[in-house]
Symmetry: C2
């Protein structure tokens, strides 16, 4: 079968399954999730066998140690996946929530009701647990999903998807609501992204080049998660200990994540109080390499001079860019120019500085006096997240199950006609 | 200047203006709207002069009478535009609304706050009043806008945009927050749609081919309003008088609009009660041409036989397609197959039939026992609308000023770091 026909048939099955899934109760969707969690645990040996095939092929193909590490599933990893599914089942059901409602002057009862989006295409790279998390969030929110994973994780993804489909069937739900793209033909993604009318939403999860390629090709709406180039701005009046704690935490508590800090901006008056030296010293103790402007390099001779590209780089490593700014306006302009609209924080005691920063920084998450590391579905109380959107349309910031819904306007009357 | 440079500079100015506009209070934005309304009225003569140039050129170019009619602005039309701006000013300010909020266990105060989207590109066809309505809704919601109108309305659009920009300046706001694309070069739209990062949202308003071309080219998120192929389904138990009233109103109250009914589906048991004949007769009295299936044609000999393409056609005229269905499931399947996800209504006395229809019909607006003509921003109490979205992402159905906003997650702490 050619790839175009394959993709069309896959999407037709997903659409048909999604139309059935809107009639499933929350109880049925939760039962499916419970079945999936159990099946994952029961299938631990089988999943590890499949994973071993991927790891073997990966080693042969010369994947890096970091890539192999991401790919690897052990007992603890599989138990964690199952636990995540159980937690998603325990979340509040977003489907059917009434977002707003009113009785119109003519007596029409109008409701804006949350409903599933329909068919969601998720394109992701090597981590096989995404198969499970994404499917579970789509089931919770009543969506059918088409999963396109990386070919390195092919066997692992298939073993996991098998559990997911079995869990759906056992709960009396259409197993075609979760389908894995089984061809490794690269053309499949392009074909799927043309299927406007059958697929309602595409979510690419992976590096920037993957996301750009999806946006370039897609006729389907895409929700994107580009880089996280997050800033901490230390205002003139920032309390010293808070500034030190937050800069160190935002940069070093976990470096490989999108909400880690990549650039620190320091107001010149804070610099005059010696804060540049102190922050540099605290970071250096955590083995952070500092790339600074002239003032920073003068205050901390071990720092290397930053070049322009440093301001736009998401290091995801023990490296930070640092700059002294003349004013809060300069800090905001810098963030709006170089930032990725992900998460930016100010440290200040001033209400007006905090308000200005919150209003003028154009980012999904804008923080006052806390670490950038808090922009996260779990920390926000949203439960598991399908990703962190750096878009402004539909969903912005951490996206939970409710962000995989749309709404319907429902009007109930008793014969109203328009005059 | 080449068109690429022109578009880039236009977008740069819009982005800069949007960053200033986020600091404007609701009072200032409303003052600008009041100035614009006044300026439009004061400039009536000037706008009519500009409009006469467009009408003259249109006649020469051989535009149809309907096109010329859409293009025409008279005293009443200009007063109506001004009045619409005044009404938009009177709406609730969406900017700054707190959508939700909580205090996290670690003491972080978290708020999801409504903020402007940023820069909105609106691409529209001949009606010059769109210049004014779209600009006013964008100003109300704190967005900068780039307006690309049809070249037939070039002079009219320029005269209206002049009032808008003057009204902004007089209120102390950046007039570059509203810019008209002044080149008629068709390449401009393509260039603008590439400016991801400068322009946040594109809204095409016009025929299906315009919208498809925009979707095809755009790297910017697009909110679409495709056709309105709306259905009325008359269930087995529908009350006769209600069925007659709603079918006639939905089809004939205004035919050229997207929420007019285009297909009527009738349950076979309602057909047995003679409802097909009665509905056909009532519609025929309003000069509606009926295109029916075999049963409809048998019951109403003046009806012509429908062909498959009739089920997918938005007539926007005194024509209706009509079919007898064996069950509510068949009606729902028909609507989900041929409909445009705009507005579909059921007429029934049965709670279970109504619930099934509301749950299973995949449309922006799903109605029980009322005319399809009610899917409208004004009827929903949303005020003036920027369009009716047939998309599922971001906004669905009538879109008011609030749908031109996104949100920001704001967290305020007192030194919290992540453990």
């Amino acid at each position: 079968m050619d790839v175009k026909t394959y993709c069309n048939e896959l999407a037709d099955r997903a659409l048909a399954a999604s139309r059935k899934l809107v009639t499933a109760s929350g109880m049925q969707r939760n039962a499916a999730l419970a079945n999936i969690a159990k099946c994952l645990l029961d299938s631990t040996a089988k999943i590890k066998e499949a994973n071993a095939l991927d790891l073997g092929a990966g080693k042969e193909a010369g994947l890096s140690a970091a890539m192999l590490d991401r790919l690897k599933l052990d007992d603890a990893g599989i138990a964690k996946m199952a636990n995540s599914v159980t937690q998603i089942a325990a979340q509040t059901d977003p489907v059917g929530q009434i977002i707003e409602g009113s009785v119109r002057p003519n007596g029409l009862r109008l409701e804006k009701v949350r409903v599933p989006i329909g068919v969601v295409l998720i394109i992701f790279e090597s981590r096989p647990n995404v198969t499970c998390d994404a499917a579970a969030l789509c089931i919770k929110s009543g969506n059918a999903t088409i999963l396109r994973g990386g070919k390195e994780a092919m066997h692992s993804n298939a073993a996991i998807a098998q559990c997911v489909r079995q869990g759906m069937s056992e709960a009396g739900l259409a197993s075609d609501a979760v389908q894995l793209v089984e061809t490794t033909d690269r053309a499949a993604v392009g074909e799927l992204l043309k299927l406007e009318g059958k697929i309602d939403l595409a979510i690419p999860r992976g590096g920037e080049s993957l996301i750009r390629a999806v946006v370039e090709q897609s006729r389907i709406p895409v929700i994107k998660h580009y880089t996280g180039n997050c800033h901490v701005y230390v205002h003139a009046d920032a309390a010293e200990s808070m500034a030190l704690d937050i800069c160190v935490n935002a940069k070093t508590q976990r470096t490989g994540v999108c909400n880690a800090c990549e650039t620190i901006l320091i107001h010149k008056d804070a610099a005059s109080r010696g804060l540049v030296e102190k922050i540099c010293k605290a970071l250096a103790q955590q083995k952070v390499e500092i790339r600074g402007d002239a003032t920073v390099c003068a205050a901390h001779p071990q720092a290397v001079r930053a070049i322009d590209s440093d301001w736009g780089t998401e290091y995801l490593d023990l490296i930070v860019a640092m700059k002294v700014v003349g004013s809060i306006d300069e800090a905001i302009d810098h963030i709006n120019q170089y930032g990725s609209r992900h998460t930016d924080a100010i440290i200040t005691q001033s209400i007006s500085a905090a308000d200005q920063f919150v209003q003028q920084v154009d980012a999904a998450n804008v923080f006052v006096n806390c670490s950038t590391r808090f922009s996260d579905g779990g920390e926000y109380g949203l439960g598991a997240e399908i990703g962190i959107s750096t878009d402004k349309l539909h969903a912005r910031g951490p996206m939970g199950a409710a962000d995989l819904t749309t709404y319907k306007w429902v009007a109930r009357g008793n014969g109203q006609v328009r005059k």
